[in-house]
């Protein structure tokens, strides 16, 4: 075991600068996402774009490249790699690499934990958020591992990756041309079944390839397994019609009990509660008695079923939410018409979005409506009600709550 750690430590030391770059990139994404959430519509765009680029391009690419870097020092293709001439067995090397791979999956979680704690994540949220983060890097590693172990060098790994991308594009073009179910016909549960089956096939193939390479170094056999796995995955995607024997988990919104988040109705007011942040960007009362509130929000990205990538398909729209503007002075309240900005940023286990709330006091506020809403708003709070039972908090006569985005 000591020698396994010894090899693992060597790999971590070798990858230290790449790991540091990765950590800085992840931290930068978190910082940029947080900054963009505080800025107005025009000001937030560059930060939003930078955070999106880091999160969707740089972080996955570095994570993918790290798997290659991990393998590159001890190639397991035929040849006379240094480790093969030393008292190191394939099993020991594989254990060491698996250890570092697990660490690689943990790195984003470790970077995000302080960030999540600052967003009032309790244990109930830390668990799913960590799992979601592990899942993401796990998927990236799962894609990279079979290609890395059949590549004798970094250059070959890049070439194999390009071949993989071209193959995927080719299969995507082939998909509609072949007879079988087309994507729009596939129901959400079948889509989830397909996803899990493809994942299972790929996982088994990756394990077989890794074991074969580390123990026997039969690269041609590994390439054959890889090809067979790609064909099997494509066949499942195209021709699997679903099976009643395979049950898909129904999505359970994270907060099934109604959750109330309350913030003073004035620009700059912010509340952070159980992973949710509600920030008022602007409050515009006009003299036609309309009140418009721009809100920047963030919430844990685990609101739908785990994992998000598969869970979204089955989650549907079971969670509900609505916004109330309540005066603490006279106790009167009204419900908002909600307009969501379509830009949603997924970063660091949170999803950031912007909401425009329009309140119509003359229509919705019971009793006499003030000519100038500004004094009334001084004592008002914005309350966001969400969860399956959000309807319980509906005001009398108000429209039913909207389904939330998941």
């Amino acid at each position: 075991m000591n020698l396994t750690f010894h090899i693992a430590l060597k790999d971590v030391y070798r990858l230290r600068w790449a790991l540091l770059l990765w950590v800085v990139t992840i931290a930068s994404e978190l910082a940029l996402a947080s900054i963009q959430a505080t800025l107005d519509v025009e000001g937030h765009v560059p930060f939003y774009m930078s955070a999106w680029t880091l999160g969707n391009i740089f972080i996955p690419v570095i994570g993918y490249g790290l798997v290659m870097g991990l393998q590159d020092d001890d190639p397991v293709t035929e040849g006379d790699a240094f480790w093969m001439t030393r008292p190191i067995t394939g099993g020991r090397l594989l254990s060491a690499k698996a250890l570092v791979l697990a660490l690689l999956c943990l790195v984003p979680v470790l970077v995000c934990v302080p960030f999540w704690l600052s967003h009032d994540f309790g244990l109930a949220l830390l668990g799913p958020s960590s799992a979601e983060m592990l899942w993401r890097q796990g998927l990236i590693s799962l894609l990279a591992v079979p290609l890395a172990v059949v590549s004798s060098s970094g250059a070959k790994f890049v070439t194999n990756t390009l071949i993989g991308v071209v193959t995927l594009l080719g299969l995507a073009l082939l998909y509609p041309l072949l007879e079988g179910s087309s994507l729009p016909e596939i129901t959400a549960p079948v889509l989830v079944q397909k996803g899990w089956l493809i994942l299972a096939v790929w996982l088994i193939a990756s394990a077989a390839i890794a074991l074969n390479q580390y123990y026997r170094r039969r690269t041609k056999l590994s390439a054959t397994i890889l090809l067979a796995a790609v064909i099997a995955c494509f066949a499942i995607a195209k021709w699997w019609h679903g099976s009643g024997a395979l049950r898909t988990a129904t999505a359970t919104p994270h907060a099934s009990a109604p959750q109330l988040t309350e913030v003073a109705a004035r620009a700059g007011a912010t509340v952070v509660l159980k992973g949710r942040t509600l920030r008022i960007l602007s409050v515009i009362p006009d003299f036609s008695s309309m009140v418009m509130i721009e809100v920047s929000e963030s919430e844990p990205d685990t609101a739908s079923a785990f994992p998000r990538s598969l869970g979204q398909a089955a989650a549907g729209s079971s969670a509900q939410e609505h916004y109330l503007l309540v005066s603490q002075d006279d106790g009167r309240a009204m419900t908002a018409e909600v307009t969501r900005n379509p830009e949603v940023l997924h970063a660091g286990g949170l999803r950031y979005f912007r909401t425009t709330l329009v309140f119509n006091p003359s229509r919705d506020l019971p009793g006499e409506v003030p000519t100038n809403m500004a004094p009334w708003l001084e004592d008002a709070v914005l309350v966001k009600v969400e969860g399956r039972a959000a309807g319980l908090f509906r005001l009398k006569g108000a429209p039913p709550p909207q389904a939330s985005r998941t």
């Binding site: 010894h6 070798r14 035929e78 006379d80 240094f82 001439t85 030393r86 008292p87 190191i88």
Partner: protein, 304 residues
């Protein structure tokens, strides 16, 4: 006891045979020079011995274990230095030593320090920044401090300048006096291995030509120059061991590969009457060149 033993070993790359029925034994404690021209099969043999390649047929035993089953226990007793070896070049020499040390229970830190000093390697320089000669020394440095029972050197002199070669050989000789080990050294640089080896094996075209003690080999090869007298010699059916036979005027030259004074004396009195003969010992390099040439001639005449 033989440290290396191969029996009818063969290895194919696709349809090309790299090794044909190679049988070879290397006794414990010997320094075995495995010589042959480029592409003869030296590196393939070593890769099979080190379990870096699987044999297509036959078997090889290293330290008494089937080469396909060489495990960490055996590798702890084997040192391997190859011109093709890829060292972790991002490490410094010191980091390389630190990395290798824990794998060997018998690692001698005193010997490590002595070798580091002897090889004059800069410990804080990265392996990729070392010259080729220094890199070979670094490879040797991490293969000696655990006092391996078998040291396998694959073309260790390749690409080294003469000065470094001398240093390398001197270093090897010094270290070999300190340890009891078997050295298996493959090279096409015969002058260098001649200084080191006590046994020699020649491989050509994937086939073992011979393997025997170097003294015996050099004892049985002689360059012979006969100045003929009046009698005309019979050169139509020379003995089998005569190579490079040629006649220039009244002189006959050849290499006797099975020389013995008695046999040559009786042959001379029988066929080269009234002649004078000069018999000179040969260097290993000359023997190698003679054998290579005669093989080429045999192949050419066979092809015709």
């Amino acid at each position: 006891m033989n440290v290396i033993e191969t029996n009818d070993l063969s290895r194919r790359y696709g349809r090309a045979d790299a090794l044909h029925g190679l049988s070879l034994s290397v006794p414990a404690g010997s320094i075995f020079a495995f010589i042959g021209p480029n592409g003869a099969g030296k590196t393939t043999t070593i890769k099979v011995l080190m379990n870096l390649l699987e044999p297509s047929g036959g078997a090889a035993r290293v330290l008494g274990v089937d080469s396909r089953k060489l495990g960490p226990r055996e590798r702890e007793k084997i040192g391997y230095v190859s011109e093709n070896q890829k060292l972790p070049d991002w490490m410094t020499v010191r980091q390389l030593l630190d990395y290798c040390r824990p794998f060997y229970p018998t690692w001698d830190r005193g010997l490590e320090a002595k070798l580091l000093n002897q090889f004059e390697l800069p410990p804080d320089r990265k392996v990729r920044q070392l010259s080729r000669g220094m890199m070979m020394k670094a490879a040797l440095l991490i293969s000696l401090p655990y006092r391996p029972k078998l040291l396998v050197l694959d073309e260790p002199f390749s690409g080294l300048d003469p000065l470094v070669r001398d240093e390398f050989v001197r270093g090897m000789l010094e270290v070999s006096q300190q340890s009891e080990w078997t050295i298996f050294i493959s090279s096409h640089d015969i002058n260098e291995v001649e200084q080191l080896a006590d046994r020699v094996g020649l491989i050509d075209g994937g086939r073992m030509q011979f393997a025997e003690p170097i003294e015996g080999l050099m004892g049985r090869f002689r360059r012979v120059e006969v100045t003929l007298g009046n009698a005309e010699p019979d050169l139509l059916s020379p003995p089998e061991g005569w190579l490079e036979l040629e006649r220039l005027g009244n002189q006959v030259r050849f290499v006797d590969s099975h020389y013995s004074p008695d046999a040559f004396g009786s042959y001379r009195s029988e066929r080269f009457r009234d002649s004078e003969a000069i018999v000179s010992p040969m260097k290993l390099r000359e023997i190698f060149v003679t054998l290579a040439k005669s093989k080429r001639e045999r192949s050419a005449s066979g092809a015709l």
